[in-house]
């Protein structure tokens, strides 16, 4: 190893000195510590609390276990989560009854909570009851997997647990692997429950009662969280422990500072750098940059289908043909991601029933003008295009190009930059005519996308489309067990979507994970955060 002491080594030595003093047997080095920096912040230890941030989700994945978790697969050479492989986490095994109405879980015998008490089916029941009963975030999520009522959860014996479904639902099991249905130490939690807070929400927000891979050491909301490894935990793939002995999750609001930290080696991994910084660091070649298109997220340009002039499909088509997709993609994201335009569909039919798929659309001003004329606006019109301040790094250059290009077909656009809370309020109240926003689906299946983002009078239906046929096909597809029929439904939906053009899917931005070159195991997860348990150091 030699006697070269870098700054990191000195830091490590200092840490070592401290730990040897504090906990004699457990010396930890810098190499065994993972330091993750982020622009956001952890605000609660229970991911179910309304207002939880994504960073809080990531922490909860390490501090709590779920019954099951997603496997991973390789997509274009990069590891991503796999919705179709579900492996046990607290469950040793699970079985689905032939009629698809009962899922039985066999719990691990060796699973213990962090206070040493064993994980029992009673705890699982209490935790899932809480997820569907209490006023928390889990409720709306589990609903999408037909999990709505405490009577669906049954304790068979201390290590066997059964879930009953009203109808076979392919999203029931995946839902139990999402962030919210954490398994809580019910005895501990109940001890802190009160009359008006029977599910101990107030206590669990500041404390953990889980069986997860990491134990919370310090939690300073908005600043940092330090976690230490739960050595008894063995729920990683292959019954392994987590690699890092210590995790430091730290908020560093300035993106340039985060880039400096990771480049200097003081931070190990960061996923929210500016696209330009990620590109520069990749070019320097000192660090590993794993850039995964977020295949469960989409950025849209949305038009309010209930508001003139965007209530006319031809106007929406005209806008779609008047956008300089390639230039926008380059200017906003430095082409980091997957562009959803510029495809060719043979005989005009969607080639697949997956969502999203590349749209057969490109910049064609003549076509756009023709559509605009057909809609009765030969001279164009004026409108406002909005985006939120938090997205300005990507939305600003994009909006400028959009404005310039639409001016060529006579549509005059005023660009409006809104603070994030204002933007979400106006979207929910359906007051914005024309804007850009993104969506993300944890469980990305075609019917889920269409049901959540193209139906109903609710916030996520950005385009406010209300099409009875589309809604009916999407609802039917939800419980379609036959794969071929499901694919056919998907194609129908994709064709309708392209024809109606309620909103324009632009791209799937990349998640640029920039990390030290000796880190391995990084996997793009459905929650778009780092699952710290995946990582190890070579």
């Amino acid at each position: 190893m030699g006697l070269i002491y870098s700054k990191q080594m000195l830091g490590a030595a200092a840490a070592l000195a401290f730990f040897t003093a504090a906990v004699p047997a457990k010396a930890q080095t810098r190499a065994e510590t993972l330091r993750y920096v982020t622009g956001a912040a952890v605000n609660t230890l229970d991911p179910n609390i309304p207002g939880s941030t994504r960073e809080a989700f990531a922490v909860s994945l390490s501090t709590y276990d779920r019954l099951v978790s997603f496997g991973r697969k390789q997509l274009n050479g990069k590891w991503v989560f796999d919705l179709d492989t579900i492996r046990g986490e607290l469950a040793e095994s699970y079985s689905v009854s032939p009629d698809g109405l009962k899922i039985t879980f066999k719990l691990r015998n060796d699973a213990k909570f962090q206070d040493g008490s064993p994980v029992t089916a009673e705890d699982v029941k209490w935790s899932l009851d809480r997820a569907v009963t209490a006023k928390i975030l889990g409720k709306a999520q589990l609903l999408t997997g037909s999990l709505t009522d405490a009577s669906q959860f049954k304790v068979i014996d201390p290590t066997t647990f059964e879930v009953t479904l009203p109808q076979p639902d392919k999203l029931a099991l995946p839902n139990l692997a999402t962030v919210y249905p954490i398994i809580i130490n019910s005895k501990l939690a109940k001890a802190h429950a009160t009359e008006e807070d029977p599910w101990a929400q107030a206590w669990l927000k500041e404390n953990t009662a889980g069986s997860g891979a990491y134990i919370v050491e310090t939690f300073k909301p908005g600043e940092q969280v330090i976690l230490k490894r739960n050595d008894a935990w063995n729920r990683a793939a292959g019954d392994k422990q987590a690699f890092f002995k210590r995790l430091i999750i730290q908020s560093v609001p300035e993106p340039a500072t985060r880039a400096n930290l990771v480049e200097k080696g003081d931070a190990d991994i960061v996923i929210d750098l500016q696209a330009s910084d990620a590109q520069a660091l990749e070019a320097k070649g000192k660090l590993q940059v794993i850039s995964t298109p977020q295949y469960n997220a989409i950025t849209f340009i949305s038009m309010n289908n209930q508001m003139p002039p965007f209530d006319k499909p031809d106007v929406r088509r005209a806008v779609a043909y008047a956008l300089p997709y390639d230039d926008m993609f380059k200017a906003a994201l430095f082409s980091r991601g997957d562009l959803l335009a510029g495809a060719t569909w043979a005989d005009g039919k969607p080639p697949s029933g997956a969502f999203p798929i590349k749209q057969p659309i490109k910049l064609d001003l003549e076509k756009a003008k023709a559509y605009l004329k057909a809609a009765g606006y030969p001279d164009g019109f004026s409108t406002t295009f909005s985006f939120n301040v938090g997205q300005s790094a990507t939305a600003e250059p994009m909006a400028a190009l959009l404005k310039e290009s639409l001016a060529k077909i006579g549509i005059k656009v005023d660009i409006q930059k809104l603070p994030d809370a204002q933007m979400s309020t106006q979207i929910t109240e359906k007051k914005l005519p024309f804007f850009t926003e993104g969506i993300v689906a944890w469980l990305p299946s075609t019917d889920y996308f269409y049901r959540n983002f193209y139906t109903g009078n609710q916030r996520w239906n950005y385009s406010s489309i209300d099409n009875a046929e589309l809604t009916a096909v999407a609802q039917k597809a939800r419980f379609e067990a036959d794969k071929a029929k499901y694919e056919a439904d998907g194609k129908v939906l994709n064709a309708m979507n392209f024809d109606l053009m309620p909103q324009i899917p632009l791209w799937q931005p990349s998640q640029d994970a920039v990390m030290a070159s000796n880190l391995t195991g990084y996997t793009y997860q459905f929650h778009r955060q780092v699952d710290y348990r995946d990582l190890s150091r070579k």
Partner: protein
């Protein structure tokens, strides 16, 4: 003894007379936040599946389902009991958040002001002694540079040079290196707490973290302080008593420091007071660049997400600090110039 007592009474009276203003600030901020178009409930109900129900839950939690006059009444009642409400952003009580973050901001601002004063007063005096000379122009250039470079630029520049290029500064992430154990919190000022605990390695670590952001902020405020010192020194140096002092052959040091500077210091104190209050609230860029866990960046984040309670709490805190700083300035006036009485 009597003067001290009189000063205290006058200060107390002065403080009491500022209470209506504080109350006004309280109500004004409350109403302002409600008038802003963002709805915090919608913003925070932003999980991938949050619908109307979540929005309603949050609204109820924040008390937004009640009519505004009732909300105001409840808020005043809470503030009266020392409860500033709960922040959705951090999930903590605003009182607790502010109590943890205010020392960080104060420590940074005090250090910055100290650095600024230590540099600005001699610079101003030097410039005033030789007006129009090379020194005067040099000071002017330095001041102009300090003011015209925005703090986030100078901050990033300092980080680039001292952290990235030379590696002499620790990483710019907060008040103390992440591997350092914190001293028991007595004052919340890390430099003082470390010194009290006798942990000088810790003190050094905290000092190294503090010096860059403090210099960044100081650079920005040296200009007004130095310019005011210069102007006021010029007036003072040209006055009769300095001429008299010179004519009776007093030493150079006594003329400049005891007579001229002491008389010139009043406007500098005023400006220093204003600069201090402004820095405390407006150093958000420095706090962001250096990940400093202070009150200004806290308030900005809250404002962006329309999180009412922290913004209201912050404005109230700033108003109170302003009142206190003005009070201190008045008392300092009395010390600098005994002829002045406040009241």
């Amino acid at each position: 003894m009597t003067t001290l007592g009189a000063t205290a009474i006058r200060a107390a009276r002065r403080f009491a007379s500022s209470l209506p203003a504080l109350f006004g600030v309280l109500i004004f901020t409350f109403l302002l936040m409600r008038v802003l178009p963002g709805d915090p409930a919608v913003f925070f109900a932003s999980g991938p599946n949050s619908g109307k129900e979540e929005i309603e839950t949050i609204r109820k939690q924040m008390g937004l389902d009640k009519p505004v006059p009732q909300q105001l009444f409840l808020y005043l009642y809470d503030v009266g009991r020392g409860n500033l409400g709960r922040s959705l952003m951090t999930g903590q009580n605003v009182t607790k958040d502010l109590r943890e973050r205010l020392p960080a901001s104060l420590e940074l601002t005090f250090s910055a002001l100290l650095i600024a004063l230590v540099l600005a007063i001699p610079l101003g005096v030097l410039a005033a002694l030789k007006p129009g000379s090379l020194v005067d122009h040099g000071v002017r250039l330095f001041c102009a540079l300090g003011v015209c470079v925005p703090t986030f630029v100078s901050g990033l520049l300092l980080i680039y040079i001292f952290y990235y290029l030379f590696g002499v500064s620790p990483d710019p992430t907060g008040r103390v290196d992440i591997f350092t154990t914190l001293p028991p919190a007595h004052t919340g000022f890390l430099l003082i707490d470390f010194a009290l605990a006798g942990d000088f390695d810790g003190w050094w670590a905290a000092f190294k973290q503090l010096i860059l952001p403090a210099c960044t902020m100081a650079l920005f405020v040296i200009a007004p302080l130095a310019r005011i010192t210069r102007a006021s020194m010029l007036a003072s140096l040209g006055s009769d008593f300095v001429r008299t002092a010179r004519s009776v052959g007093l030493s150079w040091w006594r003329i400049i420091v005891t007579y001229a500077l002491r008389n010139a210091i009043l406007p500098v104190i005023t400006i220093a007071g204003i600069v201090f209050s402004t820095m405390l609230g407006a150093n958000v860029l420095v706090e962001k660049v250096f990940s400093w866990p202070g009150v200004a960046s806290y308030a900005l984040d809250a404002l962006l997400s329309s999180d009412y309670a922290p913004v209201q709490g912050f404005v109230l805190l700033m108003a109170s600090v302003f009142v206190i700083v003005n009070l201190v300035v008045d008392v300092l006036y009395g010390i600098a110039d005994p002829r002045i009485s406040i009241g």
